[in-house]
Amino acid sequence: MAIACAAVYSACFASAAFPLARSLNRSLKAGRPPLPISISANPSHVDPLQLRDLLAAANYSCHRFPALSPDGRVEPTDLGKLHLALSHSSIVVSVFCRSKFLAEDDCGICRADVFPFSLENLLGSAVPASKNDLQMVGFGRAVSDGGLTASIHDVVVNPPLQRRGIGRKIVAQITRILTSRGIYDISALCSENERLFFNACGFGKDFLGSTTMMYTRTASGCLNNNEVIQPAGRMLLLVPPGQEQYMTTVNIAQPETL
């Protein structure tokens, strides 16, 4: 485990030391100029309203089985629940970009021929961005028990900026923080679409061979008298009966000798 830590830290030192070289390489490959982004692990940098808009732009739902409208859009995320989730996530990572870079980028203007150290750019980066100027373009969070396990949720990047390595940076940041806290059992629930992405981030099948399971029991047909359902996205989950039911149905077993 110490070796793993060292490898992760050396990887991040390397990328910190040579950011320009790596990003230039990437831009040559993709034909697009590198996007100047800033990444933050400070939860107070996240504006829940911006986050909700980002989730909507990516058509992403925090419910695993979301209700879809006829045109395939998910419901907007409940703001109150978003607050709760943010305040109880151990790690919250957000990626920002200045609005002006996004505007130029979206227009498809080729900036590869612009010398990266032009006066305009230098002055632009010298002036600190005001809060209004920064747009959230990526997000990810992790929930952990602070000792043994952690699970990553809601890794989202604005669709026009996907496939540029932003999502991978988010996941790398999350795992870096977790491993620095001594948590190595990091899981992520992935749909079919997300599986390739997490593979590329260094995730794989459980080496212990466990089966991922989710509670999906729904009411079949009409509800009985004491059945209660709880909606979760499009699923109407059946709430297991209360303890009174348990008391009446269990047979008092033969006493065990301990």
Partner: protein
């Protein structure tokens, strides 16, 4: 390292239940189930108060009328009692030697980490995906920071007793959650000599019930092959709609 005072007799635990029920007037429900809160006079666990206030101050600017974020009114007491099965007597029986035994389910999270370790060390428990021996400090931290810790205790009172009851931890399950959307159930353990009586089922069902009642809809877990059937019977589905869990592999 004790996480909470262990209760010697069922009588006092019932008193504690009543006492704790009174404390749950806190409008921000996220406080309620922190088991560090339930131990009077001790401050433990994550320092959530500052964050909660921070979010309250931001929330006040939003016009959306959402009853989960309203600061003003505490939930009605009837609703609270329904969703807070702090301690329930699951079953009672009298053994042939006259000992009277109660099995108590509790979601108060009042559990001694040494008891947990002893429980794990017993042979043949089958509900958990490979549990290697882990440092006590880590176990304690993970219990403290879990959203829900449910326990089963057996309380034995010898017949004709003036003697104190003997309380023993015989089962545990815990769930981590972000309090809003996702929860993962970890570490479902039942003492081997108490297995086969539906106690594991009761433990998990109560966890699910509590989570659903708090509107947490994504309930997941990672099951060892031997217990996939057990969880299927409880309403879990393997890889639903292709959703799989993936795990981080350290890169060398």
């Amino acid at each position: 390292m004790h996480l909470g005072a262990s209760v010697a007799s069922s009588a006092s635990s019932l008193c504690r239940t009543h006492h704790l029920a009174c404390r749950f007037q806190d409008p921000d429900r996220s406080w309620i189930y922190r088991h560090s809160e339930l131990i009077p006079g001790k401050r433990r666990g994550k320092v959530v108060p500052l964050r909660a206030n921070f979010w309250e101050s931001i929330k006040s600017g939003f016009g959306k009328n959402d009853n989960t974020t309203q600061v003003v009114e505490p939930p009605t007491s009837i609703e609270e009692e329904e969703t807070l099965p702090l301690e329930i007597v699951l079953l009672e029986r009298t053994r042939p030697d006259g000992t009277f035994e109660q099995i108590i389910f509790s979601s108060a999270g009042d559990v001694d980490v040494y008891d947990v370790q002893a429980l794990c060390d017993k042979d043949n428990w089958i509900f958990q995906v490979g549990w290697p021996r882990r440092p006590l400090g880590k176990i304690a931290a993970s219990l403290k920071n879990s959203y829900l810790v449910a326990t089963l205790h057996s309380i034995c009172r010898p017949s004709g007793s003036e003697v104190n009851d003997k309380k023993q931890l015989i089962g545990m399950a815990r769930a981590t959650s972000d309090h809003a959307f996702n929860a993962t159930i970890w570490d479902v353990l039942v003492d081997p000599s108490y297995q086969g009586q539906g106690l594991g089922k009761a433990l998990v069902e109560q966890l699910i019930r509590t989570l659903l009642k708090r509107d947490i809809g994504n309930i997941s877990l990672f099951a060892d092959n031997k217990v996939v059937d057990f969880y299927q019977n409880l309403g879990f589905e393997a890889d639903p709609e292709g959703i799989k869990g993936m795990f981080w592999y350290p890169r060398y």
